[in-house]
Symmetry: C2
Subunit: 125 residues, 2 copies
């Protein structure tokens, strides 16, 4: 893992892409342990900056991301993980987190996708 | 721009995707000014963390990224920009920066693409 450039908080930016459709599903962050677990367990594990804890994607929703291929970039400061996504990646119920289209002023003008699940049903208390 | 969550350095993570092929070309960072310029000028402008300066993609190589669509995610802390990429995105000569495939141990096992240009010719002194 020495070749990766983790930032001053020990994290590396990770892009999760649907291996079949090519959709960018989400961006999240991994520390060394989360990256090691993702590569060996073949399911994405992130480190939540806001909650300061590890987070196995799909552990409550069942919407896991099975790792198909992992790549790093020329600077070794980002990782691209191609996955098979069960359900939807976004906690709001969308297939991907990137559904809010921006205009020239940076304003959100529309939502580009329909929901694929009901978050109230999936994330029950 | 108030809706975006810039980090403690005033930056937001940006994923650049080929609008036609769906390839993830690169990950880079924008501050408020770079994001405003990208959305209005329709060419990607980044903020280099290492060089601490703005950086118009393609200004020396000619390999500009023309903005086709910009989206933000559910947390407003990342931006996805779909572009028409001239030439290649990677300064090493590849179409995308994510060409280094990783194995379970995080070791780079192969380069997944051939170069599309010769960086020694493109980035002349």
């Amino acid at each position: 893992m020495e070749q990766f450039k983790f930032d001053d908080k020990g994290l590396i930016t990770t892009v999760i892409q649907d291996a079949d459709s090519g959709e960018v599903l989400m961006v999240a962050y991994m520390d060394k342990v989360a990256l090691e677990r993702t590569l060996t367990e073949k399911k994405t594990v992130f480190y939540s900056r806001s909650r300061q804890k590890y987070w196995v994607k799909g552990e409550s929703s069942g919407h896991v991301q099975s790792v198909r291929q992992a790549l790093t970039d020329c600077d070794r400061d980002a990782v691209l993980i191609k996955v098979k996504q069960t359900g939807g990646a976004c906690h709001l119920g969308y297939r991907t987190c990137f559904v809010h289209e921006l205009n020239e002023k940076g304003q959100i003008t529309k939502v580009t996708q329909d929901k694929v699940f009901d978050p109230d049903q999936v994330y029950k208390a």
